[in-house]
Amino acid sequence: MIRCEHLCKVYHGVPAVDDLCLEVPEGEVFGLLGPNGAGKSTTILMLTGLIEPTSGACYIDDLEVATHPIEVKKKIGYMPEDVGFYPTLTAEENLEYSAKLYGMGKERKERIKELLALVGLEGVTKEVGGFSKGMRQRLGIAKALINHPKAIILDEPTANLDPQGVADYRRIIRHVADQGTTVLVSSHILSEVSKVCTSAGILAHGKLVAHGTWDELARIGGDEKVVIHIETRTPMPDLQSPALVAAEFAENRHRARIVATVDIRDELADTLAEAGVAIRSLEAEHPDIEDVFLSYYHTTEEAA
């Protein structure tokens, strides 16, 4: 659904996005992660047809954005980070204007009502000028959905939301994803992305340094090692496995810390059962996802 091929954007000789290749399949909720200045917003601006790439191309539903901007804009919904509306109009009037610009007919009334209810702004009659940032953000999500888009692109969608707003946002994204809409969320807040996205890409210095599902990213970022902790009621024998890297025993071999190249918990459980050792607990240590992502950033910074 969303594809970037060797996408580059250079501002005054400095690459903001550098040879970005990315593919987001239809129906996926994809997170674009990266620190501030990584090139997330620039990538999104190119995907939404607001700026043209210096080189390379990006596609939405197999349509090249730079050459078919109008067709592409009809297929997507977009909410920028600093979402802004007309302050003298109400939420309904702002959405009405937006719907008209999408060429929607009388069905827009029903759609606006439905979306205002979805984002929790139904019955709000005051002008947008009097809205809190969170309310504007909610309205931004409604605007991004007004045209029944095939893909929605949200730039830092939770930046101004309170905890209730964040919870509502997650609910909306899940609702949208359940309907088969592709979602691309850009953020530097890892916890937010990890709660709604099925896969993610990590941008640093304009380059895509890693992408995949959460497990794939964690494994790659965690040096492809799995740490397993075992606690038994009786002493453990020596453990053998081709994937075993190291084994440390403690408390008279009642406790062990195993380092392996893959998750060998099933194999270890079988070995211990055959040896007649009763297992008290057997668990794999998941690497701290924040540490994993920081390691991506640091690796890129060191390389730069």
Binding site: L45, K73, Y86, S98
Partner: protein
Amino acid sequence: MRTEGLRVIAAKEFRDHVRSRRFHILLAIFLIIAVVGLIDGSIQYNQQIEEYNENLAQVSDDEMMPSYFGWKPSILSAFFKMSMLITTVGVVLGCAMGFDLISREKESKSLKILLSHPIYRDEVINGKALGGIAAIALAMGTVLAISFAIILIFGIVPNLDESIRIMLFGGLSFLLIFSYFAIALFMSTVAKNSSNALIYTLIIFIILSTLIPSFATNESVMEIVVGEPPRFNGPSGPYAVSSSSTASSTGEVVELVDTSEIDLAWEEYREKSEAYWEKRHTFTDAVNLLSPSYNYQQMAIAVTEPRLSIALLNVGSYSSDIYEDLPESGLAILGSLMGALAKNIIALLVIPAAFFGLAWVRFMREDIR
């Protein structure tokens, strides 16, 4: 469909203008001054027409000299006074409507959202201009409609000639307001925020409406550009006085000068003067063409007071027969002035077009980040 976005944006902009407090206040001031001016003008007109009719009854047609003071009064004189108002309040209305059209979108961060819709950039700027044009047309239409109503209340029924000229006056006023609207729109695309855009617009307004006309008539500037006016160097009269001194006495000798010598000197002086004044007028006119206010005033005089316009166009002329053979109809006189005023009409059209063109190019190149 390309026109759909344009229509939607223009409609929204028009609605924004007519709903804005700024527009209401300026239109109200505009209307109050216009109404007061027209009431005053209508009363004066009725008095003048009475005096004119009395004079006409006393003096036969043959004795009426074709002079400015002998012309039949016209209700258009009241509109001539209104033109002064339009060069101030109308211009402020144009500036106020345009200065934040784009900068406000940047400030409220709505520009990015707007451009994410399936519309072309030119539809945004064209739609904003169309919405503004429609609002200006509405303001001018309201002023004209109320003006017509007032003169009708005073029992003055304009004939076809006058009605057409009133409409032309409305069209010219619209062009002037649109000129400043286009200038303000351009400043709105250039400036980073609305307050800067307003300051830039006011600076341009002062330059175009005050500084340029002052510069064009400034004596020091004239001396630098066209030099000093010629002086008469010949004998001052048929007698020349010369001093004579002999060994025995000192005295003055009065000699009779040849009149052909005086005529020759006068002729030479007249030619030099004409050339000087023509050069001076050319310079003044050329500089003033840059001022929409000046061009508008010239045109407004021609439409409302065509005979006065002829008088003003012939300032410095040595011809005394400029009022002879003038047609009775103001519209016909206006037609005869078109050649002389063509440059003003063109300038009045070119200036807003140029500024709108600049605004268009600037907006199309606007960096959205």
